[in-house]
């Protein structure tokens, strides 16, 4: 099966093509095609993983299949796949979440006027995402990188009648594209200095020390720019919260579990580059750390259920990126996997809630646990998992990240702080949504549990949110860390003190949320009033959007208007000036022609006329006068020819 893995992405692509061209009008069939294709891809991915787990050769498993599509001298573009444990892991994550989201969408998107198209886009996304994780070179990953961006754009703006949705899609596309500028230049540098885009060749050359110092660090940071855009890290994070305008299954699949994790995947894939460049790795770690606390702090005070989850996603991605920057390859990827499951579950649960109450505002909810048992239970499981409560999967992966960060105090403190905030905002969300009394009676009355197509994926993902982390229990001898690793497999030492510390921090967060939002022992309003400036700053997300609008967007538009005027007035003005001055010159010439040139001609005519009138006077008509004149002429000619006079005259006028 492993040598057939390249087929996996083509299954959803085939479904996409079939839906667009043939079954667009038949909703059930369209959905069935997409689900079927992803299900087969899921099974194939599992088989691949099992086969790879059965490999017991030297080092890690690696299989590359590729062919060239363009070659020019030292320039080569190839299409191909690289299968290794990292790819196998990502295949499982992507197909699992994608399959669950596909099934869930049957219920969630029921009755939408563009139902078939939704499944077509989901299938297209799945194709691109699978291509991204299977690619064997930087050129190809960039192709799929952009394609997932396209599908993200299409799906965020799926309800494009809403201006905010269309705007959000555009914002997502352009913001990530800014990160991709850096990525592009990084790839160009790779082509220039290493002469190849192929992963294995690039990593071999870097491991052999072909590139070092400033050039390597620059290249590493530029490649990381791509990850910053895609994984919505500071300062390019602004698109992800807005992307929540998309349908909720999309938020779960693309903007929580898979596409936004592509940045993390890219860093993991390029680990050799970052490990060779300590400065580059430090940039990665710092950006990840800043994002994790920055986003978590915003999530503390937001009221839109999906935006809270979006900021949570930012924060957790920052966690993973920080871990990778600190060399925690296994920890980052482990958390990527567990996060994919519990965050997808959280989003799908949020979708289930929104489906029931038709609002995103958690202040309008409350008491929903009585109406939506399955949603409530699964949501709380996921919340416990993300908060890092033993023995759920989030506990194990988060613990590895904290263990990675524990070597440097600042990273340790921030990661514990983020763990505290995470537990707090998640349980603030849970209590406000599910417990207490309904704050909007109308919405509450109409609330109901979602259909089975939606609850089954919730339950399935809830199971994964509990058990997926067990593969990485530190006491296991052949666990996650001996499968997905960089360099040499390293065994994580169980750090009991850290485990206890992170659990305590999480419980504190949950406890505080319990006091504030369940028991009401501490009034949230009073807290907000007491820390008003901080609250306002967090509520307005540190005013980053406003800042970008003033510093980037407005000036760019001013520049476009200025240049357009410049083009019309100056450049084209110059062209037209030439034309009009040519015309004016022609007018002058015309005048000159009429008055001077023609004047001379006419004047000559006049002179001739006058001369002839004068000459007429000597035309006497008498023969004797004529003969006299002839005689005079002959004498003159005789004189001239007989003397040197003629020569003298000719010499004088320069002819001789």
């Amino acid at each position: 099966m492993l040598d057939k893995a390249f087929i996996i992405p083509f299954l959803p692509l085939a479904a996409f093509i079939a839906i667009v061209f043939f079954t667009n009008r038949r909703e059930k069939l369209s959905a069935g095609l997409a689900i079927g294709a992803v299900a087969v891809a899921w099974v194939m991915s599992i088989v691949c993983l099992i086969e790879m787990l059965g490999y017991h050769g030297e080092g890690a498993f690696q299989l590359e299949q590729a062919f060239d599509i363009v070659t020019f001298q030292n320039f080569r573009l190839e299409l191909g796949v690289l299968l290794d444990p990292l790819t196998a892991l990502m295949l499982i994550v992507v197909t699992t979440v994608s399959l669950m989201v596909h099934i869930y969408s049957l219920g969630y998107m029921h009755g939408d006027i563009r139902f078939s198209r939704f499944f077509a886009y989901l299938a297209l996304f799945t194709f691109a995402m699978l291509g991204l994780v299977l690619a064997n070179n930087f050129f190809l990953i960039f192709i799929f990188w952009e394609l997932v961006g396209l599908t993200s754009y299409l799906l965020i703006g799926f309800w494009y009648e809403k201006k905010s949705a269309a705007d959000a899609g555009k914002k997502a596309f352009i913001t990530t594209k800014i990160g991709d500028l850096g990525f592009t230049v990084g790839i160009l540098m790779m082509g220039m200095f290493l002469g190849t885009f192929n992963y294995i060749e690039v990593f071999d050359k870097i491991a052999a020390g072909q590139l070092s110092g400033g050039v390597l660090t620059t290249m590493a940071i530029l490649i990381f720019c791509g990850a910053v855009g895609k994984s919505a890290q500071v300062p390019l994070h602004v698109w992800l919260p807005d992307a929540m305008e998309g349908p909720t299954p999309v938020s779960a699949l693309i903007h929580a579990a898979t596409m936004v994790a592509a940045g993390v995947f890219l860093v993991a894939r390029s680990m050799t580059i970052f490990m060779a460049s300590p400065d580059g790795a430090m940039v990665v770690a710092v950006i990840g750390m800043v994002t994790s606390i920055f986003a978590a702090s915003i999530a503390l005070v937001q009221n839109d259920i999906k935006r809270i989850l979006a900021y949570s996603t930012l924060s957790q991605l920052g966690y993973m990126i920080m871990a990778l920057g600190l060399g925690g390859y296994t920890a980052g990827m482990f958390h990527l996997m567990t996060h994919a499951f519990f965050k997808a579950l959280l989003f799908l649960g949020a979708g289930s809630v929104i489906h029931a109450v038709h609002t995103n505002d958690i202040q309008e909810m409350g008491g929903l646990s009585r109406k939506m048992k399955i949603t409530t239970v699964t949501f709380i499981i996921a919340s416990l998992s993300i908060s890092g409560i033993f023995p759920l999967s989030g506990f194990w992966s988060k613990d590895e990240i904290i263990a990675t960060a524990s070597h440097q105090p600042i990273f340790l403190i921030v990661s514990l702080l983020v763990a505290f905030m995470t537990a707090f905002y998640m349980f603030r969300l849970c209590f406000l949504t599910f417990s207490g009394t309904p704050r909007n009676q109308h919405a509450y009355d109409h609330a109901h549990e979602s259909p089975r197509s939606m609850t089954w994926p919730l339950m399935f993902l809830a199971v994964l949110s509990v058990v997926a982390g067990w593969v990485g229990i530190p006491w296991l001898s052949h666990g996650f860390s001996s499968f997905v690793y960089h360099g040499e497999p390293h065994h994580v030492k169980p750090e009991i003190i850290l485990m206890v510390a992170s659990t305590v921090v999480a419980l504190l967060g949950i406890g505080l949320a319990y006091l504030m939002y369940y028991r009401g022992a501490i009034s949230p309003q009073a807290m907000g009033a007491r820390f008003k400036p901080l609250y306002t700053l967090l509520y307005h997300k540190y005013y980053v959007d406003e800042f970008y609008d003033a510093v980037i967007i407005k000036p760019v538009f001013a520049a476009t208007r200025f240049l357009w005027k410049f083009d019309a007035k100056v450049i084209d003005g110059f062209v037209n000036l030439n034309a009009s001055s040519t015309l004016r010159l022609a007018d002058i010439k015309n005048w000159f022609d009429i008055h001077i040139v023609d004047g001379i001609v006419n004047g000559l005519g006049l002179i001739t006329g006058a001369a002839s009138s004068a000459l007429r006077l000597i035309q006497t008509g008498r023969l004797a006068h004529y003969l006299l004149a002839v005689l005079f002429g002959l004498i003159m000619m005789g004189l001239l020819s007989s003397s040197n006079l003629l020569n003298w005259i000719l010499w004088q006028i320069g002819l001789q």
């Binding site: 363009v70 050129f139 555009k170 357009w564 062209v575």
Partner: protein
């Protein structure tokens, strides 16, 4: 390569024969005129496909050569031939001409003259790409202008006369520079010759001053056609006023002639001039990329937006051409020519489709058309994405090759040129949003009809090729490889 059949002459003169046939038809028989034009354009395309089939891409030498002594007193000969850079241009020209003719079936005013002029135009364009003698080249170059002038001036929009005259005079202005440069080449060569093949061999031995002078003159002539910033202002006017089919030809073929001319003439013949001017040319290209994109963003007229996007897209070609040492860059330039021809040609076609129905091109007048015209929206979005360089389409491959190829020579310029990609994304997505997304005004646009079968048939070959080249560029690359590798050697002299 000897070929028993003068196929290049057939390619060039089949449209001319078509023109004569069309002129002989009764002007009332509109349908016959349309179909006859299409048939002749189709036959021409078949001939170009035969050339493609029999072209030997393993060698850089000229193929399908035809030669006879035409005007012995000035050594001008009728010399035709093709190599790896002219074959793709021939194919592009014949395809776009056919598409343009079929999309022109809705022309109702003076149909006979329209198609006659169009076929004459096609003859001139094809001639430019096969002529290997300067005299002949110049004749074809000028022959195009006349029908173009009338096609814009008679069948164009409200300001057609201004646009037609501007186009005509601007191009003619460039032609004068070309004529002077050709005369310089002729009188400097010993023995005097107008044969490009000879001049490619001997012109690099000219003194540096002569080369720089001739290069500059040729450059102005070609730069106007490309158009290179700041010689571009004829383009938006001509595009906006021209009828749809002519916009397709302008963007798809005429702009390519400038770049083709550079590669065929000044780049290959005057390496000293090239080396002298390379950096300024790269800078002009960069300015064109950024400036064109920013000005596009400010446009309110859809067609003008697409027109300015051409200024930006052709800037990539100039950056690539300035990196003359890299086969990849020159190949990227060639890919960009083909790709831009397909994509922008299709964009103008689609703008025309919308204009025919809505009778306005003002972007702000639209909104939410995706609901009413899903198929049109899908096709338009596809080409919009192609235009902003989405991977999987030809534009991405060409831009990527341009970047990779030129990066070594101009890291800073290329680093800045990459910004153009984001700006392009911004104006394309804004345009798509404003026209297709948002609220649909049913009272205003409820009567719009979906793109029809004829229009879909016209645009689909362009779509298929755009995706095919984007996914599998190898055939096009292989077609050009030998020629380009040889060209890079010539340019390094």
């Amino acid at each position: 390569m000897t070929y028993s059949f003068p196929i290049l002459s057939f390619i060039v003169f089949t449209p001319l024969l078509g023109m004569i046939v069309v002129m002989l038809l009764n002007r009332e028989r509109v349908t016959a005129i349309r179909w006859m034009s299409a048939v002749f354009a189709f036959i021409t395309m078949i001939f170009t496909l035969i050339v493609l089939k029999d072209y030997d891409s393993s060698t850089a030498s000229m193929q399908f050569m035809e030669s006879f002594n035409w005007i012995p007193s000035i050594n001008a000969s009728y010399l035709l031939g093709v190599d790896g850079i002219s074959v793709p241009m021939l194919l592009l020209t014949s395809l776009l001409s056919l598409v343009a003719i079929v999309i022109s079936f809705n022309i109702t005013n003076r149909v006979k003259e329209y198609f006659a002029f169009f076929l004459l135009l096609e003859c001139g364009m094809l001639g430019v790409f096969v002529a290997l003698d300067f005299f002949l080249f110049y004749v074809f170059w000028e022959v195009m202008l006349v029908p173009m002038y009338f096609l814009i001036g008679i069948w164009g929009g409200p300001r057609r006369e201004y646009a037609a005259i501007k186009f005509f005079l601007y191009t003619l202005f460039g032609s004068i520079f070309m004529l002077v440069a050709i005369l310089v080449m002729y009188f400097t060569s010993d023995p005097h010759t107008l044969s490009m093949i000879e001049l490619i061999k001997t012109a690099p031995t000219f003194s540096r001053g002569v080369q720089i002078f001739a290069f500059a003159f040729f450059f102005i002539a070609f730069a106007i056609k490309v158009p290179v910033w700041p010689f571009h202002t004829w383009l938006p006017d001509a595009h906006v006023e021209a009828p749809t089919a002519i916009s397709i030809i302008l963007a798809g073929v005429l702009l390519k002639m400038g770049t083709y001319g550079m590669l065929r003439v000044s780049w290959a013949m005057l390496p000293q001039g090239l080396h002298y001017f390379a950096v300024p040319i790269a800078i002009l290209g960069l300015i064109g990329i950024i400036y064109g994109a920013l000005v596009s963003m400010a446009q309110k007229d859809l067609k003008k937006l697409v027109a300015y996007s051409s200024v930006s897209h052709m800037g990539y070609c100039m950056v690539a051409l300035a990196a003359y040492g890299s086969v990849t860059a020159i190949a990227g330039c060639m890919f960009q020519l083909v790709s831009h021809g397909l994509i922008t040609g299709a964009m103008f076609l689609l703008v025309g489709v919308l204009y025919d129905r809505a009778h306005t091109r003002e972007i702000a007048a639209f909104g939410g058309l995706a609901n009413k015209l899903p198929v049109f929206t899908g096709i338009f979005t596809l080409f919009g994405m192609a235009s902003l360089g989405l991977p999987g389409m030809s534009g991405f491959i060409s831009e990527f090759m341009v970047f990779v190829g030129s990066f070594k020579a101009y890291p800073i310029i290329v680093g800045l040129a990459v910004l153009g990609v984001v700006l392009t994304a911004a104006y394309i997505l804004r345009m798509i949003q404003k026209i297709f997304l948002g609220e649909f005004d049913i009272a205003k646009w409820g009567g719009l009809t979906e793109i029809n079968l004829r229009e879909i048939l016209c645009v689909s070959p362009l779509a298929i090729l755009t995706i095919f080249i984007g996914v599998y560029p190898k055939p096009l690359a292989d077609l050009m490889r030998a020629t380009l590798e040889n060209l890079v050697v010539l340019m390094a002299r």
